[in-house]
Symmetry: C2
Subunit: 145 residues, 2 copies
DNA sequence: GAATTTTGATTAACATGTGAACTTCTTGGC
DNA sequence: GCCAAGAAGTTCACATGTTAATCAAAATTC
């Protein structure tokens, strides 16, 4: 409790940034070896876990804005980690699916990725970890005013 | 408690992202009217609160990487919100100071900015809010392994 | 005290964040 | 059925994130 906390540590935005950096640093290192970014990883995981879906839904799940997602899907398509088909029902939409190569990347790196979280959870204490998640989700759902 | 939580809500990185977006959205709207970005705002606040200092220290306080900060300082200098002088002790360094215009921007918008946090804190409950900050700082200081 | 290493800052290159404009397609209103 | 309004993606323009390379100026080493 008496470590050299910067004055900014009571600033919520900065605290969120620093915490995120602590979590994602190791993950980024793992993914860099595979040649994909954190965001590309998030998109692939959503597709692997929730099946083929349109970009709008992917954006919600992976917490990305559509302009970013557009570019990310282009990259993933070049790398042949996903495929896209037009939606027969609505020609504005498209259906994005993960390929076998994409699935393989997920399967080969999910363990190392989860290990990072388990280490953090264990170090923090599972109860405190769950409390943190609860508070973050509560903040997310906050309807101020 | 029975709102439509996405499955990703138990993912720490996503939860951190979503919480941050909830907090920063309103702030960005305020700052956009003044013509500065969230990061430029953080830099100005550090300079206003902690006085003139070198870029490395600013980067730590504002949670920015040096390459980003280099560009941000260039923009802020063009807008005449900061000034830079060479450090007489160490010619590799420089000393960055906020200008009167910069200070004015801070003073004229700090209230609205703090109001956002107060609203969130009040809505969450001050005790839970403090707990969240504590847990985030604990996570930041985590030395896993 | 010259060579090596380290540090502070910048630049480069690529990827994403963000708001606005734009295209195409679908839907509602009439 | 036409037409305006809305939705899904894309593109644009600018700002930042991120890693690696670069450069000048200390600090170390020998």
């Amino acid at each position: 409790m008496s470590t050299d906390l910067p004055l900014t540590s009571r600033s919520l935005p900065i605290a969120l940034l620093r915490a995120r950096e602590r979590v994602m640093g190791p993950i980024r290192a793992i993914l860099a070896d595979v040649g994909i970014t954190e965001q590309q990883w998030r998109v692939l995981r959503v597709l692997e876990e929730e099946g083929p879906q349109d970009p709008t839904r992917i954006a919600e799940q992976a917490c990305l804005l559509l302009p970013s997602l557009t570019r990310i899907l282009q990259k993933l398509e070049e790398k042949e980690l996903i495929t896209r088909q037009p939606d027969p029902q609505d020609r504005r939409k498209q259906i994005v699916s993960i390929t076998a190569s994409g699935t393989r990347i997920i399967r080969e790196n999910l363990g190392a990725s989860l290990a990072v979280f388990d280490a953090i959870r264990a170090n923090m204490g599972p109860d405190r970890f769950e409390t943190l998640l609860d508070l973050l989700n509560e903040l997310h759902q906050d309807k101020t005013g």
